[in-house]
């Protein structure tokens, strides 16, 4: 797909690649390869390394520490990080909270919260979804009641990823029950160390713990913990979701994992004596996934090229969540076929290539059932396309 990039961009890619080769600790790369739920300190280490180079908040404006890259450069950077097995950066602080704060927050909030995100010292989690709200954010029931000098928050939040090691939560709460469901919501910064907060781990079907239910009982948030104006939380939350449309495609992670799966299938023997990947049915399945992966990559690049060249992205931006999430599942489904009996073991013994690779794939395969559900289920995405794009 080189034909899609300019010479400058290819030179940029080489620079990023060299930096990662020289600066990514090998143990971090190994940990990234091994599992899907990374520890906070591992993510923080890499964040700090990037921050030193000025690359940690690569999609933020330069005034908040961003490197001033074009969206295409960010694509290249992320692709190189993924293919070099760099740990993923904590998604909430960088992609969600940071932009929310520099767009809608006060200058005090910017000064107080942005540096910690940039350096990787502060970890955030998201408090949007609720047990009874699911994809329907307007149904949020958590309340924030005005008191002297601040707000009292009560309620519970579902699917708090990384909540068990986050310092702060960005939390959507109902401040006005007397208006339309969407209108009475506000956005707060909640300290996770508040004594009113308790977490219940949610074990997911991969048997891992990355998600929690968060209970908030009489949690105090001072006045300066309100982001922007009261009752405007819905607008802020929607703004952010609509401006990070290509993130959920997870194109770089898919490319990296697919490459790894290809390598694995090329290293394993097939039933006929040759390589597994050369068995006709296997080769055909890999080929079809590759064709879909390329088309996803280009679709994402179209969106980013529009942004890079100063245009509003076209309707293709609305499909990347759907096609990206379906592809992630196709890749892990193919992995299960490649792994065979090794893929159904809950733990893997021995140091064979197969056993080493299997753990990560099995976890990923199970956990990735989530990607067609979260961030607006694919059914909701299709309804949005039909209504907003096709005018139905």
């Amino acid at each position: 797909m080189d034909a899609f990039f300019t010479a400058d961009e290819i030179a940029f890619r080489d620079e990023v690649r060299a930096f990662i080769r020289e600066n990514l600790p090998t143990d971090l790369a190994q940990k990234t390869r091994d599992g899907i739920h990374l520890a906070r300190e591992d993510m923080a280490r890499w964040n700090t390394i990037l921050d030193k180079r000025g690359w940690a908040v690569h999609h933020w404006p330069t005034e908040y520490g961003g490197p001033g890259w074009t969206p295409i450069q960010r694509f290249i950077f992320e692709a190189e990080c993924a293919s070099g097995d760099a740990p993923p950066l904590s998604v909430f602080g960088l992609y969600l909270v940071g932009p929310t704060i520099y767009t809608f927050g006060s200058s005090e909030q910017r000064a107080r919260y942005l540096p910690g995100i940039r350096s990787g010292e502060t970890f955030w989690c998201q408090g949007y979804s609720e047990p009874d709200a699911g994809s329907d954010l307007a149904a949020v029931r958590t309340t924030a009641r005005k008191v002297e000098g601040g707000w009292i928050i009560d309620g519970s939040k579902a699917w708090t990823s990384e909540g068990h090691f986050a310092d702060l939560m960005i939390c959507l709460a109902r401040t006005n029950p007397n208006v339309k469901p969407q209108a009475g919501l506000s956005l707060f910064i909640v300290d996770m160390k508040d004594k009113g907060i308790s977490l219940q781990p949610v074990i997911t079907i991969d048997s891992g713990h990355s998600v929690n239910t968060t209970f908030m009982d009489n949690v105090f948030v001072p006045d300066d913990g309100l982001i922007g104006e009261v009752d405007k939380g819905w607008t802020y939350a929607k703004f952010l979701l609509s401006h990070e449309r290509t993130n959920n495609a997870q194109v770089h992670r898919s490319r990296r994992e697919f490459t790894r799966l290809k390598d694995l299938a090329a290293a394993l023997p097939g039933s006929g004596g040759g390589r597994l990947i050369d068995e006709p049915a296997m080769c055909r399945r890999f080929t079809l996934v590759e064709a879909n992966l390329v088309s996803l990559e280009i679709t994402v690049l179209r969106v980013l090229a529009d942004q890079t060249e100063g245009r509003e992205p076209g309707p293709e931006a609305s499909i990347v969540k759907i096609i990206g999430s379906e592809l992630q599942q196709r890749i892990t489904e193919l992995a299960m076929e490649v792994l065979g009996e090794e893929g159904i073991k809950a733990e893997h013994e021995g140091d064979s290539l197969l056993a080493q690779e299997a753990q990560g794939w099995t976890e990923r395969h199970l956990f990735r059932r989530v990607v067609t559900i979260y961030a607006g289920s694919n059914e909701i995405q299709k309804t949005i396309i039909a209504r907003s794009v096709l005018g139905m």
Partner: protein
């Protein structure tokens, strides 16, 4: 011969008793695995006649037909049963039927009483030297091998030349790597390292063994698919009930056409799988070719349409479907597990291709 799901109502007593017993003792519940007294449960199953059902009368058995045997496995699948019923309900009785009666009768008696347990060890890379009678190589994943008293070992299953079926007492002398599978069951890989095999452990050799190994493996496939089918059918019921209760955007999920159609599609897939399972049940006693076709068709359908049907159930359930505490993920994992056992989906597609589309050479 049963040609309709409804004729199983004729086996009301068996099915109802099984379901009641399983729901009482094994109903889904997070604490179940820790609580269940596995030994007592096994004895109760024996008392219900589950292990005698597949044995012929001459071995003191009840001579049940394929539908009856599969109905037990299907019911066990519904509650996501995790003990190794398959080998003891469907495979061991067949293997014992092929043995010398003098040896088989006491074994059959103990099997029926729940006093011994068989595990089926599918072939991996096993080789038995005819001259030295030494066994080398490893088996494929064997469900319940760690708890078994006897191992039915498939050796050299790729050709009539090297094929033999062994019955070995479970032994700690054999290296065993035990694994918990993602669906909660236990399975082991057995490594045989120059193990001496006594003559009387060889139940069959050569062409006879080859045919018997094919039959055992087809039975394993059909039985495992019956368990998976039961799980899937229960999973669809659970999901339909859930979407009727769960409200989103002001209406029950079940009122959205997209959810309705997804469930209808899963229903179509499940009913087709039921059809193949009915075929599998009659084919258990049919010609080897027909049995092989039914087994592979079932396996392929399970690994493709079955898994799709299960993943749709997770999808419409939303977040709860991703949690370990909720049943539907375990249904999916059961299907995923069965889909990898006894030959992969692609391996069964290839085998089915050989059966459905004979090559020119075979034709002449």
């Amino acid at each position: 011969m049963r040609r309709s799901e409804q004729t199983r109502a004729e086996d009301t007593l068996l099915r109802d008793t099984s379901r009641r017993f399983l729901e009482d003792t094994y109903a889904w519940d997070e604490g179940r695995l820790r609580r269940a007294d596995r030994a007592a449960h096994w004895r109760s199953a024996a008392e219900l006649g589950w292990f005698a059902l597949g044995l012929p009368e001459r071995l003191g058995g009840l001579e049940g037909d394929g539908n009856q045997l599969l109905s037990i496995l299907e019911e066990a699948g519904r509650v996501l049963h995790d003990a190794p019923l398959l080998a003891n309900v469907l495979l061991a009785p067949k293997a014992l039927s092929a043995m010398n009666e003098a040896v088989a009768i006491p074994l059959a008696e103990k099997l029926a009483a729940g006093e011994i347990r068989f595990a089926y060890v599918p072939d991996g890379s096993l080789h038995l030297s005819r001259s030295t009678m030494r066994l080398e190589g490893k088996g494929s994943l064997a469900l319940g091998a760690a708890e078994a008293t006897h191992w039915l070992v498939a050796v050299g299953s790729r050709s009539a030349d090297g094929a033999s079926l062994l019955l070995l007492p479970a032994s700690d002398a054999v290296r065993r790597a035990d694994s918990r599978l993602i669906d909660g069951r236990s399975a082991s890989t057995l490594y045989f390292e120059d193990l001496a095999i006594p003559d009387d452990a060889v139940l069959a050799r050569g062409e006879t063994a080859f045919r018997l190994l094919e039959e055992l493996n087809d039975r394993a496939v059909i039985g495992a698919c019956a368990e998976a089918f039961g799980a899937l059918e229960g999973g669809l019921e659970l999901t339909v009930d859930y979407v009727k209760q769960r409200t989103q955007f002001g209406a029950p999920l079940s009122s959205f056409q997209a959810v309705q159609h997804k469930m209808a599609e899963s229903f179509c897939e499940i009913e087709q799988m039921r059809s193949l399972l009915l075929w599998g049940a009659v084919a258990l006693e049919g010609s080897p070719d027909e049995r092989a076709q039914a087994a592979s068709a079932l396996k392929v359908f399970l690994g493709r349409e079955g898994l799709t049907a299960a993943s749709r159930c997770i999808q419409v359930s939303g977040g709860i479907g991703l949690t370990e505490d909720y049943r539907i993920g375990h249904v999916y994992k059961r299907l995923q597990t069965v889909s990898a056992l006894f030959g992969s989906t692609e391996a069964h597609i290839a085998r089915l291709g050989d059966l459905f589309i004979p090559s020119t050479q075979h034709e002449t």
